[in-house]
Subunit: 237 residues, 2 copies
């Protein structure tokens, strides 16, 4: 349900969808960004498309009055920049030590020309991003603090490597700006979920989910429709 963060999970469900796109980056050298460093800033001319090799990245925008909004979190395997026009519409900052590969938009475009099936993967990726954005709008406009935090934990649970564990590499203010709340409310809500026995503090930046179903119930998610069923009808691939 994260704006961007869960695209990895989506692509795991359709393993063949974007591997092709990701493979393009293997020829590029791997670069490193230290925690806190910016890969690029909001408003910069958009020259590159990025592929995250390891680490975590936050995607942010700023209001005129200085307020920050976090559009989403990215992790290993995610792509950045597929939806850009001539300028980056948001900034990308390393949460921890990040390894990434980049490719100029020009080169990326040439690769797409060589293998047109990549265009379908692009479309698929963009549609996933739109769906995720809409889910997040729903969260921001209709859900209360507890539902927001539960939804967030659920998303990260589903896309995490270790079953039953949720890792939150970002700090509270990142979560707050992503969920549209304050750090205090995020903290209080997490405490409340612990007291309710739904989650347990496991390690620094990590929680154990005691009851996934309970978490899901508190997330108040919209009904899910099986999107795989009509796969044969899927157009624009």
């Amino acid at each position: 349900m994260s704006a961007i963060g869960n695209l990895r999970a989506v692509s795991e469900a359709y393993p063949c969808d974007e591997n092709g796109l990701r493979a393009l980056f293997l020829r590029q050298p791997s670069e490193i960004a230290e925690a806190g460093a910016a890969l690029f800033f909001e408003g910069d001319p958009a020259c590159h498309v990025f592929h995250l090799v390891s680490g975590n990245v936050r995607i942010c925008r700023f209001l005129a009055d200085g307020h920050r909004f976090i559009i989403g979190f990215l992790r290993a395997g995610d792509l950045i920049g597929l939806s850009f026009r001539s300028r980056y519409m948001f900034g990308a900052e390393a949460i921890d030590r990040v390894a990434f590969r980049r490719m100029s938009k020009r080169m990326f475009e040439e690769e797409l020309q060589l293998a047109p099936e990549h265009r379908s993967q692009m479309l698929s990726h963009l549609r996933d991003e739109i769906t995720a954005s809409q889910d997040h709008m729903l969260l921001l406009s209709q859900k209360n603090a507890e539902e927001r935090v539960c939804t967030f934990l659920l998303d990260r649970l589903d896309s995490d490597d270790t079953p039953g564990l949720v890792s939150l590499p970002m700090i509270r203010s990142d979560i707050a700006d992503y969920l549209g709340m304050t750090i205090e409310t995020v903290s209080r809500t997490l405490t409340k979920l612990v007291l309710k026995g739904i989650i347990l503090p496991a390690a620094r930046h990590q929680f154990k989910v005691v009851s996934r179903s309970s978490l899901a119930r508190h997330a108040n998610e919209a009904n899910e429709y099986d999107d795989h069923q009509g796969e044969a009808l899927r157009v624009l691939q």
Copy 2:
């Protein structure tokens, strides 16, 4: 800045972008939906792509607890269904009497095959939708009631035919569910803007904008970056 509503304005800025896509629908018969009727429901198998000829449509989703969220408003010229997977992720309802044309996804796909440049238009459209979604997330997570309403009016002002006039064909509860507030707060905020002399009630479902700059100031928009500048570099077209 609306999630979907301002795509028309965007495409007016790039007049050649999507006309091609829209032209595909001219061969289809025009259909009518009366006010309140649904073009399709959330969760239905996604069989068609729609082109709105006249009238206004609201796009909605529902939470498990019955709360409604309006993703955006569509008007003459807009397309619906380009971002669908196998099922509609939201419902579409006619606000007033609506004329539209539709095309099966299969036929639409075939048209795309025949004229591959349409794929670039698809990509362009989807990227616009993503940008609009992100703007709206920013509104929902960071803006207060007055900023939300001003932003909404500003969007509709920019994409309206009659300069200085904003028409709001939808009812207050539609606006409320779109901006993530209650009908009472929408009403109170509009009244306050009238008292401040920023807008004037002009007709039923219509306001006159006295001071566009004042409206913009109260909207607290993020800084805009000129996206046209790097047009020559635009890839994926």
